[in-house]
């Protein structure tokens, strides 16, 4: 018995399709790259600074929390870096350093780790971080004020603010093509519509996000905005404008689709996506905030466990 070979014994199945969390995180970051690179070229070094600080501090916080809670260090799975990148993309290029550091701490600690880490968070960690920053220091999120020293050769007024305060007459300066190609002011990684759409399509094709959520979110935004627009075209702007401005596209492809806080069954995904889309336009058009994506998605995160109860009948279930 002594010269027996020591074989590995484990339970079936003995194959795995090779997918893992690291690949998933890095490909999501890759998909965000067109919009990120465009943002850096538009806003220059300050944008790069905000993004670098955000990514590095998200990783540092994750590492420290891992150490303090005596868990395995999980920065290798790329999730912390992804949180940092997405949070950075949602901030204006002029954000002060302490805002970024506080935001990442809130996102990683309160958004993710107090629920037990990856997979346990009921809300999107990025949006938790951003929501707390928006409520606490709302002046920094007034993009007109934040970007007052920039002149990039196009109308530097924040499109959603113009639409909110001036109605349809305020958005004459923006053509659909300009919005799609990023000729609008806003947060670092959210202005280049085409880049976000391309990234989103890449993620959908690779199966890293669930297309049902993205599509139903966009349909929700579009249909609700269309209804408002039809009721009073002078006050409420067109659905295309809503789809291409603010956080709509990054919300549809990168925020609403966060795994742990979104449903997985078909009908719940449609309810979740459409609900977030509808709420977004409601907040934008009749709420007090200029953009509603952040709170709309957080609100729908809340109903996720409930609506995921709508599921197909299991094989042989007798009830």
């Amino acid at each position: 018995m002594l010269n027996h070979k020591k074989l590995i014994v484990s339970h079936a199945p003995f194959w795995h399709n090779g997918s893992n969390i690291t690949v998933r995180s890095y490909h999501t970051m890759l998909a965000a790259m067109p919009a990120v690179v465009f943002g850096i070229f538009t806003y220059g070094m300050p944008a790069l600074g905000v993004l670098s600080l955000s990514i590095s501090f998200a990783i540092i916080w994750e590492f420290l929390i891992n150490k303090i809670t005596k868990r395995t260090v999980s920065i290798g799975d790329g999730n912390a870096a992804l949180i940092g990148l997405l949070l950075g993309m949602l901030l204006p290029a002029t954000s002060p350093w302490w805002l970024v550091i506080t935001g990442t701490l809130v996102a990683v600690l309160i958004g993710k780790h107090i629920y037990g880490g990856i997979g346990g968070n009921p809300f999107n960690p990025v949006l938790i971080g951003l929501a707390i920053l928006m409520v606490a220091w709302k002046d920094y999120f007034d993009f007109n004020q934040a970007l007052v020293n920039y002149d990039l050769g196009f109308a530097m007024v924040y499109p959603l603010a113009a639409a909110k305060h001036l109605g349809a007459s305020g958005i004459d300066a923006f053509s659909t093509m300009d919005l799609l190609l990023g000729q609008q002011s806003g947060a670092i990684g959210t202005t280049f519509g085409l880049g976000l759409i391309l990234g989103g399509i890449y993620l959908i094709i690779r199966g890293f996000i669930r297309w049902e959520i993205s599509v139903s979110f966009l349909v929700g935004v579009g249909v609700t905005a269309l209804l408002f627009n039809m009721s009073d075209p002078s006050r409420y702007v067109s659905p295309v404008f809503h789809l291409l401005t603010g956080y709509t596209l990054i919300g549809a492809f990168f925020l609403a689709t966060e795994d742990s806080s979104s449903p997985v069954n078909f009908i719940p995904m449609l309810i979740y996506g459409a609900g977030a889309g509808i709420m977004t336009v409601l907040i934008r058009n009749i709420g007090s905030y200029v953009d509603g994506v952040v709170f709309a998605i957080l609100l729908m995160n809340l109903i996720n466990p409930l609506c995921d109860k709508i599921r197909p009948k299991a094989l042989g279930k007798v009830v």
Binding site: S19, G119, L315
Partner: protein, 429 residues
């Protein structure tokens, strides 16, 4: 190993291996020194066992455990019994392992040839429990309490990927299956016998005299519960077995073995199975039941190193064993060797709720919720609310899990633990 495709929107396509018409006949391997047979009875020193170390046995001789037990094995070689030991298998199952040293001159026991002239249920139960293909004895030992069997389904398809045993039997041994079908009809009185096969074998399956039905060539369509649903249009309620529904599954190889046994007057003892090598190539082999695996690996120059994995069965549903002394058994459909560099390991990461398992599960189980309860050991809740017993045990959830959780392992463990609890409750009541 089949990897995730670049386009992750589509489900992975796991096709069953199809037989090539030009496939050569299975290569026959002879046991070199000894064979080991597993007798389905826990070994106990106090029992008066009807055989002992040093006894000479003939090929085909029946070795009964004791006077008051039905358990027996059929010796597949001529030789001397060299050891009788207890053997603990998976899930608390215990066997008596009988090792026989093979002698050079083979003598055939003729006890069965006289019984074979008149096929009866008793002959089948008393002599053929150990035939290649694993005869489900439950079919013939019906009591008043057990459900009545209305349909027998012969599997002309194989349970797992890479395996072609049953398909090969349908292709080559159609006549033996036909004889087996007649004998089954005659002694059980069940007329409704169905053979399921992939569509390219319909012609071959047609000559067996059983009703032919076609099964999808994509994994996991050949698992009994899915054959019930897709081919027979009967859904097995969660927690019930196919037998409870009056349908009995038997492999094509077992039916062919029954046919051969009665027509030739000799118990067959060559088991066909696939050897899946480290490079993923698969060859069909024929060896006596009881042949140790290292004999087979030696014959094909497969070297086994430390930290490799040796699997009885296919890549999805097989069982890993810890020693290459393990013998070929009546239900061994494949022996798979994995190199240590190709072994995907599981991790202790939690579920990230990506939904891959939900999309691939053929039984629509809410695995993302189920696994959270299983991890916490809340098996009863898992069974009551999250459809634990709907699982048909295909293993696809673990195959696609992004977190590499051992989902299938959790499910089997939960079922086993719940089974133990209900057994204990039944005993104490």
């Amino acid at each position: 190993m089949i990897k995730r495709s670049f386009i992750g929107l589509t489900k992975p396509l796991l096709k069953y291996d199809a037989m090539d018409v030009k496939t050569p006949a299975p290569l026959v391997i002879q046991p070199s020194k000894k064979v080991t047979l597993f007798l389905d009875k826990a070994f106990n020193f106090k029992d008066t066992i009807l055989f002992k170390i040093g006894d000479t046995v003939k090929t085909g001789q029946k070795l009964s455990y004791s006077e008051d037990s039905d358990a027996y094995v059929i010796s597949t070689v001529t030789g001397t019994i060299s050891s009788i030991t207890p053997f603990d298998a998976d899930y608390g199952k215990t066997y008596t392992a009988i090792t026989i040293d093979v002698s050079e001159n083979e003598e055939i026991d003729d006890q069965f040839s006289t019984l074979a002239k008149e096929p009866t249920i008793d002959t089948l139960k008393g002599c053929l429990a150990f035939i290649p293909g694993n005869l489900p004895i439950g079919l013939f030992s019906s009591t008043d309490a057990s459900p009545s069997i209305e349909t027998i389904v012969i599997s002309g398809v194989d349970r797992d990927l890479f395996i072609t045993t049953n398909q090969n039997t349908v292709m080559v041994d159609g006549k033996a299956i036909k004889q087996g079908v007649q004998i089954l009809k005659q002694i059980t009185g069940i007329d409704n016998i169905v053979i399921v096969s992939p569509d390219y074998l319909m012609q071959d399956a047609g000559i067996t005299g059983a009703e032919v039905r076609v099964v999808d060539p994509e994994y996991p369509a050949s698992l009994p519960h899915l054959i019930m649903r897709d081919v027979l249009d009967q859904v097995v309620p969660a927690g019930k077995s196919c037998e409870d529904m009056g349908v009995f599954f038997i492999s094509a190889e077992a039916v062919a073995s029954i046919g051969k046994a009665f027509s030739e007057g000799q118990i067959p003892f060559y088991k066909h199975f696939n050897l899946i090598k480290k490079d993923g190539s698969s060859i069909l082999i024929s060896a006596r039941i009881g042949t140790p695996i290292h004999d087979i690996l030696n014959a094909f120059d497969v070297t086994l190193n430390d930290k490799d994995r040796l699997i009885i069965g296919g890549p999805m549903t097989g069982i890993a064993v810890f020693s290459d002394d393990y013998p070929v058994q009546p239900d061994t459909d494949a022996i798979m060797v994995q190199d240590r560099d190709n072994i995907p390991l599981v991790s202790d990461y939690p579920c990230i709720n990506c939904g891959e398992c939900i999309r691939i599960c053929p039984a629509n189980i809410p695995i993302n919720l189920l696994v959270r309860f299983l991890e916490a050991g809340q098996y009863e809740e898992a069974a009551d609310q999250y459809d634990l017993y709907s699982c048909i045990e295909c293993g696809l959830c673990s195959f696609v899990c992004v977190s590499k959780m051992p989902v299938f392992h959790y499910i089997k463990l939960a079922k086993y633990e719940l089974g133990r609890i209900s057994n204990a409750e039944a005993t104490n009541a």
